[in-house]
Amino acid sequence: MEAFHLLMYGFGVLLTWKTLALMMLGLVLGIFVGVLPGLGGPNGVAILLPLTFTMDPTSAIVMLSCIYWGALFGGAITSILFNIPGEAWSVATTFDGYPMAQQGKAAEALTAAFTSSFIGSLVAVLLITFLAPGIASFALRFGPPEFFSVYLLTFCSFVGLGREEKHKTLISMSLGLLLAGVGMDTVSGQLRMTFGWSELFRGINFLVAVIGLFGISEILLTMEERLALRGHAASISLRVVLKVWKEMPRYWITLLRSAVIGCWLGITPGGAIAASFMGYNLAKRFSKDKESFGKGRIEGVFAPETAAHASGTSALLPMLALGIPGSGTAAILLGGLMVWGLNPGPLLFVEHKNFVWGLIASMYLGNVVGLILVLSTVPIFAAVLRVPFAAIAPMIVVSCAIGAFAIQNAMFDVWLMLLFGIVGYVFKKIGIPLAPFTLALVLGNRAEDAFRLSMIGAAGDMRVFWSNGLVGSITTLALVLLFWPLLSALWQRLSGAHRAH
């Protein structure tokens, strides 16, 4: 019940005209960036972050998270009407969403997508409301070894469970960790890896890197592909909405299954994309009529959208409770927290009640308002896609430059952004994943501090990471995940040999 009271308190923080106005602004901007091809969740949030620098943290996070919800909703519009996924996790939505639009059922598909997104987020927000405070208060007892083992788990699960080639994930992650260490060493105050170059003393700013890696490189890629936009027009009437909502309860198992998958994968890092595909595939596997999937079946829209939003939202749970983001966008929000002078981690729930519960309350309100907003304004946003890309591309470049400059008022950061733009373009094309890099860059210093503090505490004895049941099992799990591909290959060979006998 305590969570409920705190939530009500959060709504109290939220219900001022200024915050509500920022929320609406955030949602509209978010849907806008979600609709534009080549932008999307993480890019949109990164580019629009500077808008919030002068706000108080609560207003800022409310607006930013609303940009994120808006982008999640907006991604579905392009997937269904234009067959272009605005986000990697909207790919599965195109499988059945676009055929529905071709059959003239665009309005049904959009309503289904928006509503299931809403349900997915709602389940995840409920999870956050009731689980996050518990996890945070549990984590208050964590010392440096526990934190380091959790960071290790995060990094190892990327290497072990990611679909990319392992050495490329390792390259991406170690590069991120290295760049995070450039500048002043937080423990000893010594300068390192700066080569006497004063611009590097400040370190490499995480947000600058993100704007370049995602914003600029995405523009380069979109130009290269030369997108030709041919889409279907759509407007949603109340009649269609009610019809879809009436059908919905029939698919409750699909919705529930996708929501659970989404929540689970969202909490583990890097899961949103996998969640949407898994939601879709499981819905297909358990369906009596497998053949109709991919040909415009409404269940094929419900399943991936619910899972994608459940995971997109639940990715904020570890960020709030432990200070470890579960997705790229969550990592950017975490970067925002640091800019506003908050220290992410379990103490947030104790020291910044306003902030945490305002954010959680805004998840409820933002999703309800967002749902109504997208349902009523689809035609306007679909029209955005008809604006020529030649007009949009330079505007995105300008927004990126403003974002990069504003973070530390430094021209050097603009050049750094450009460099990261090229790096992002090349990395994406040769299959080096960017998510581990992002995560490593934002967590690098904290992971290193945790490691060194543990070492100081234990006088250099590595056994500190197995010193009690909790830290021992997390560290062991991390190592198992790291070597998971080897272990599972070994297991298969052994069981194969066994069968051969």
Partner: protein, 170 residues
């Protein structure tokens, strides 16, 4: 989002193969890893009275980076065939957006961000997008003024300014 192969004009010559770029990037990363390893060795990677020195953690990371890069190089050298990394036609389009962006970053140091942004948007729309001149100019003007009002006035985010803003008294 990888481009679908059939959408590409197949007659446009391949500038570089993925394999070549992959190896080049790995070599660069290897060099970077070596440089950083050296710097961290200089900083100190052993233990003193307060625990590991500042170079300890990054030194071992640069070893991981170096090892992964070497593995990548060996793997790519062993691979037989490779997909095209970029075709000339694609590279031309990428440069079409990259070159103006570079010019924009250079110009914003002297002209200020808002004037540079006007030039970038208008120029890009006219020459790359082939959109009517008056439409491009109006769009660029509206966009730059809107950005100025949003950031400089409404949200107090201060951007580099140039002679024009000085003339107008900002």
């Amino acid at each position: 989002m990888q481009p679908a192969q059939e959408e590409q004009p197949a007659d446009s010559p391949v500038v570089a193969s993925s394999r070549t770029v992959d190896i080049a990037v790995s070599l660069l990363l290897l060099a970077l890893a070596g440089l950083l390893a050296f710097d961290n060795w200089r900083t100190g990677l052993s233990w003193d009275s307060t625990g590991p020195q500042a170079g300890y953690f990054p030194f071992y990371l640069s070893l991981i980076l170096a090892a992964s890069s070497v593995y990548g190089i060996v793997k790519e050298l062993a691979a037989r065939q490779s997909e095209p990394f970029v075709r000339r036609e694609q590279l031309r389009r990428v440069l079409q957006v990259f070159a103006p962006t570079l010019a924009f970053c250079l110009l914003m140091q002297w002209l200020g961000l808002y004037v540079a942004s006007f030039l970038l948007v208008a120029g890009f729309m006219i020459w790359v997008g082939r959109i009517a001149v008056w439409k491009s100019l109006v769009t660029a003007l509206v966009f730059s003024v809107a950005m100025f009002v949003t950031f400089d006035i409404a949200f107090d985010v201060i951007m580099p300014k140039g002679p024009l803003e000085a003339l107008l008294g900002f």
